[in-house]
Symmetry: C2
Subunit: 405 residues, 2 copies
Amino acid sequence: MTAATWAEVPKGSPFPLQNLPYGVFTPAGDTRARVGVAIGAHVLDVAAVLGDDTFAHGALNPFLAQGRARWTAVRAELTALLTDARHRAAVTPHLHPLDAVTLHLPFEVADYVDFYASEHHAANVGRMFRPGAEPLTPQWKHLPIGYHGRAGTVVASGTPVVRPCGQKKPGAAGELPGFGPSARLDIEAEVGFVVGTGSALGTPVGTDAFAEHVFGVCLVNDWSARDVQAWEYVPLGPFLAKSFATSVSPWIVPLEALEAARVTPPERAHALRPYLRETEDWGLDLRLEVRLNGQPVSRPPFSAMYWTGAQMLAHMTVNGASLRTGDLYASGTVSGPEPGERGCLMELTWGGEEPLKLADGTSRAFLEDGDEVTITATAPGADGTVIGFGEVTGKILPAVAGGRS
Amino acid sequence: MTAATWAEVPKGSPFPLQNLPYGVFTPAGDTRARVGVAIGAHVLDVAAVLGDDTFAHGALNPFLAQGRARWTAVRAELTALLTDARHRAAVTPHLHPLDAVTLHLPFEVADYVDFYASEHHAANVGRMFRPGAEPLTPQWKHLPIGYHGRAGTVVASGTPVVRPCGQKKPGAAGELPGFGPSARLDIEAEVGFVVGTGSALGTPVGTDAFAEHVFGVCLVNDWSARDVQAWEYVPLGPFLAKSFATSVSPWIVPLEALEAARVTPPERAHALRPYLRETEDWGLDLRLEVRLNGQPVSRPPFSAMYWTGAQMLAHMTVNGASLRTGDLYASGTVSGPEPGERGCLMELTWGGEEPLKLADGTSRAFLEDGDEVTITATAPGADGTVIGFGEVTGKILPAVAGGRS
C-alpha cells in the first residue's frame, strides 16, 4: 500500500516519505544538536516529536546501538506521524526548513575501514601504478581488499579541505625526496556503510547478518594525495595520502529505504569461500554523480561493484575482529566500466595525462585551490519514488603557508 | 636531590617512586574502575587520595586531555604524598596490593597507528618477503613508514587471543586460496606512545611538541598472522593479519619518568626533511624482553630504533591530520642487530625455517595453541633506579571450531 504524507514534499525532492534518512542538526537560533530525519525540504526533530532522549544527542550513536528491531519500530512510528493527518498539527512545529538548519557529522566514527571493491577502479589503478603487470593483484577476486583509515579525520560535508603537504618521490635515484603541497590532489567517490550494533571479539559476522549490524548508507569522499601515496605506500599501504580528511554526507539512508535498490552483484570469476557467499543479494543500484565546481564530471554506478557491503562486513570480521557502534566502512572508489563512470580524477584524467575540460574554459588534471567537489546519489525507492542521499561536498583551501618542510 | 618514599618498595620492583606509571584498576570486592599509580607492590588509588573526579573513571582519557602542565603537577603531588611521612597515615588506606586488584585497558583508544621504525626488522622482513630485492624500500630512511590499525580490537594485557582464521595463498597458480586457522601466528614486540592532548585539523605537530602532546609510553604486542598477511597485503597493506587483536600493557609510564632513558638515535643515512629533524634526543634506552611460556627468547633494544617517537608524531601529522586524546601509535617490531634481539618469531625463526628450541624440549616456528607470550621492559630511571613497564601478556586459544570457512 502506498502511504502518502501530509507533509509538503516538492517534486524531485531527494527526501520523499519512503526515504527518511537520519542526520544530526541544530535549528536556527538554537545551540543544541539533535537527531532529525529529512522529509521534503524540512528536517523533522525526532527528539522533540518522539519525546525520546535517545535522539537528544549530537550523534546518532545511542540510536544506532539499539539495533534492528528498534530501527524498524522508529521508522514505522515516524512514517505514521507523517502519514496520518491527525498528527499534522502536533508534528508541524517540529519541522525545520532544511536551508535554515546546521547539519553536522551524523555519528561518532569508531573505526574507519576503506575497501577497494570496484574491479574497474582497481584495474585502472593497477594499469597506471604497475604498468606491464596484471592489473589486479592475485587475491583481488577472492576477497575484498581493505585497510584501516583515520577515524579522527572523518569530517562533515562542507568542512574545507586544506591541501596537505608531504614527501614525494625524488626526481632521480640518489636524490633526496621532494616536499611540499600535494600537486596531485584527488577525490574518491565512495559509498559508506554505518555499523549500528557491535559484535563480540572472536566471533565472525556472516553475510546474512548484514542487515542486523548495518544501520544504513552514506556518501563518502576519500580525499587522496596521489604524489604522497606513490612515495609512501609500499609495503604497508596508504597513510598520509589519505589521513588528512575523509568527508561524509550528513544523511544516513536506512537500509530499509533501499529495499527497491537491491540488485544482484556482477558474476563472480571464482567460487567464493563460504564466508563470502551471500544468501541474499546486497548489490545496490545507487547512481552517483560527481560535480567539480558545479559541473558533472562523472556518473559512477554502484551496481557495478564486484563486492557488496555484506561481503565486506563478513570479510572484515572473519578473523574475529569485533564491530563497534559507529564503525564506518567505505566501498573504495566507485568506478563503472565506461570512461564517464570513473570515481576519481586519477582515472578520469588517466594519471593527469588527459586533463578534463571544464565549461568555464579551464581544465583539470588534479584539484586546484578553490575547487569544490560535490558527490550526490540516487537510488530506486519504494512506490516508484527516488531516494536521494543529499550530498557530500568540500572545497580545497591552499596549503598552510610557512608550514614546516 | 634523591627523594625517598615511605612506601614499601621491594628490591628489584619495577615500580620505584621515580616511575609512578598510571593504570586503571578495580580493587578487590569493588566494581568501580578508577585510575591508580603503581608504587612497589601496591597500586595507589589516585581518585581517592587526591579527591579528584578526573581519576574516578574507567579510563585515563579525562586526565590525558588535561595536558602537560597538569600531568607535571599531579606527578609532583603524588610524589610529595609518597615522600613526606606526614601523609603516610592518610595515604596508606588507599594503597591496594597489586596482586589483589584487577587491571584494565588503561585508556580508550581513539586512533591506532603502527609504524615500522626498526631498520633491523624492516630489513629482515624485506629479505624474507622480497628476496633478491633491496631489503629496505626506497623511502624507508627518508620517513617513518606507518599505517592505521584497528582501534576497536586493542585489548588489555591478559585478554586471551583466539587464533584467527583467514584466506591463504593458493598452493599453485590457478588453485583457489586456502582457508583456515592461521598456521603462522606471530607476535610483534613493540613500544606504544599514548597521546594526551589533541591538535587541530590542518596543523602539523612538530618534533619539538612531542612532550606537549604525548603523555607516556606502554608496551604493545601486535599479534600477526603471517600467512594471512602474505596473501592480503599488496597493495593496501596489512588488514586482517593484524586486526584480530593488539594487546597493551596495563601501565603507562609517564614521559617524565624516562628522562634518564633518553639517548641519541642511530646516525641518519641522509639529511632529513626539516619536519623530521629533532632539536632534542628522543631515542629511548628501553630494554625489552620477550618470554614464550616463561622462557626468554629475545631481548630487543629500543635504543636501536632508527626513528624516534617524536619523529613518528611529526610525520603522522605533517599532512595536517589531527590528534585526539587517546590516540595510540606504536613503533612496529623492535629488533636489534643481533639474532637474539629480534622482536618477532618470523625473524627469530627466519620465516619458520630455524625453529626455536624451548627448554621443555619442544620447538616453535610459530605460536601453538596454549602458548603464552609475555613482553616486559626496563629503562634507566632517575637516581640510578630502574623503571619497569610491567608486562603485556596473552595466551593463544584454539580457533573457533565450526567457524565459517
